[in-house]
Symmetry: C2
Subunit: 343 residues, 2 copies
DNA sequence: CTGTTAGCGCCTTCAA
DNA sequence: TTGAAGGCGCTAACAG
């Protein structure tokens, strides 16, 4: 269908009988303009419904007011909530947000970022980045061109800012809570392709080793950890391994997996928490909607997002990179209880 | 911190010893270039890490490759899943996606759209728009400047495209299913501020009236229907009205509300589905993760999104506006069963 | 096949 | 206080 051709600054200038420079001045309000000419320009603007062309402006000021956000996907509410935090605080500052879903595919993640760079966004936030291997070199290069903030990224790269929960500490706290309940055999459930899992696994290994409770077999990887099938794949995997392993508790790297764990228990005829305790991570809204409600480490996603936004804006204005670490809080709900054999 | 100045097409041309036109040609691959010069240009590009400036390109081709998406919020997974559908198919076509959350606030919704227009996005998709009252005039004006697609929008505006599920039909089907199970007293649970609810309510009224089963009191509005508190507010509201109304079934306008309904039943000591049946709408992943799993009308959010994307692209290329209606499928799960008094 | 050149719409010195 | 003019980085005729 026919679109009305948009009026340009030239049209407005002609209409008002002034130069384009003058129009530019009243639009941006950055230089003095005589009140009456200003008024003349204003009415020309209204008459033509003139809307400045952002591309042109940004082309010649060489900076854009949009930022890029890259997430693995939207299926895990974790990301949706973080984005919400970013969006709300960015909007307040006048930035718009270009969203890219990398589908947990490292290749695609890089593509997305390249696309963002070529759109000359003025900054990029990557949630749960994939920074292993080659990617490090890639990010080192990117950060030379545009400010970068990682949310829950662990691989340190110079000049990148980090906003994260202390997931290692959070893991330890959860584990301490579980051992405090008398549990000695605790499964560790993780996914693939995210530094978060690795950090948590490391914390798990350390803690369990300290307690003399570590067993390699207790670490189970369910594959993709953030998509529409995660709950199911966690359930299936756990139904396979739990009968043999017979743990009294299960620590899951996120609430989706925890949900799967609970379903696995139900199908296996195990009661939660009487027969086995389950703890999750994130505290997405889902975690209090399933039955039993999940005991989980809260990541306060909204704060994660708004902090990242704040740091990014600082960097855009020339600030140094920095690291912000938030602390997790354990939300005790119904999925955990004292170890049976102790009771 | 210092950002490395980006190489421009001129730098590449100089480096490769060719003209900018040639560089442009190899970058865009739209005109023949001798293989060896192409190669020379390529290596110059790599050497300088040249990334084309999208703003500049779009400025002179006069069309942008980004589209805008406006949603009420991300807390209801419904929106996240629709966005996923949009994103995936838009990416394939080379478009990026500017995301705005209007927080179910009609004013903010208009602001978002204005911002999008001034960024000269080449099209806008609005999910569950708020089109009552003044807003109609607003949208009529917008659609003169940029192609517009509404997902699940019901207020007809000329030249706007619509992609929707037949929510009225879906409602009727769900209701027929319930009456088929012997239910005669069915509550209708809705939220505020969205045309979807109104459409469903109309279908409910019509159907129940036909059956001689309608009662004004059976319509309950729980307020905001898509945010983080929806489950809770639905639960609270229903715990208040259910004891008096004593329905044998509850129809909810979305799965969040259905989840709230189930929780309300539990707290009231009513078993689902033995004492009361609950049906939801949308079929978000949550609906099969709660206990009991929710019987719900599937909206196939992914298709909603990808269809909207397809239509928008058509319109961008000059196509006429159109309406696409998808049909819902009832997903029967555990939250519904035969009416007790019939059994 | 390749180079030259004229803009795209806007901002910003520099003069007036 | 205002206007003229030179780009920003790139594409697309138009010549060669």
């Amino acid at each position: 269908m026919e679109m009305k051709k948009k009026a340009t600054i030239v049209d407005v200038a002609k209409e008002a009988g002034v130069s384009v420079a003058t129009v530019s001045r009243v639009v941006n309000g950055n230089y003095p303009v005589k009140p009456e000419t200003r008024e003349r320009v204003q009415s020309a603007i209204n008459a033509l419904q003139y809307v400045p062309n952002v591309q042109a402006r940004e082309l010649n000021t060489r900076h854009s007011s949009t930022i890029g956000v890259v997430v693995p996907g939207l299926y895990n509410m974790f990301f949706a909530e973080v984005i919400d935090g970013i969006e709300k605080s960015m909007r307040r500052q006048g930035y718009s947000l270009l969203l890219n879903c990398a589908q947990n595919d490292p290749e695609l993640e890089m593509e997305c970022i390249n696309a963002l760079v070529s759109r000359s966004v003025s900054g990029i936030i990557v949630i749960s980045p994939n920074t292993e291997g080659l990617r490090e070199e890639f990010y080192r290069r990117i950060v030379k061109r545009v400010p970068l903030v990682f949310i829950n990224g662990y691989h340190r790269i110079p000049n990148v800012s980090y906003v994260a929960n202390d997931e290692a500490l959070g893991t330890r706290q959860a584990l301490e809570y579980l051992t405090g309940l008398g549990h000695k055999h605790i499964l560790f459930v993780r996914g693939e392709n995210s530094d978060s899992y690795t950090v948590k696994e490391r914390a798990y290994r350390a803690f369990m080793a300290e307690q003399g409770l570590f067993n390699e077999k207790d670490i189970v990887d369910i594959g993709e950890g953030n998509n529409i099938d995660t709950v199911t794949s966690a359930r299936i995997k756990l139904m396979k391994v739990m009968p043999e392993l017979a743990p009294t508790a299960v620590f899951c790297c996120n609430d989706l997996m925890a949900t799967g764990a609970i379903r696995a228990c139900k199908r296996l005829g195990l009661r939660v928490p009487q027969d086995v305790s389950v703890v999750g991570f994130d505290n997405i809204t889902l975690s209090k909607l399933v039955d039993p409600q999940i005991t989980t480490m809260d990541q306060n996603m909204f704060q994660l997002g708004s902090n990242a936004a704040a740091v990014l804006v600082e960097m855009i204005h020339g600030g140094q990179s920095k690291r912000i670490t938030l602390e997790n809080i354990l939300i005790t709900r119904e999925s955990t209880g004292p170890c049976k054999t102790e009771a």
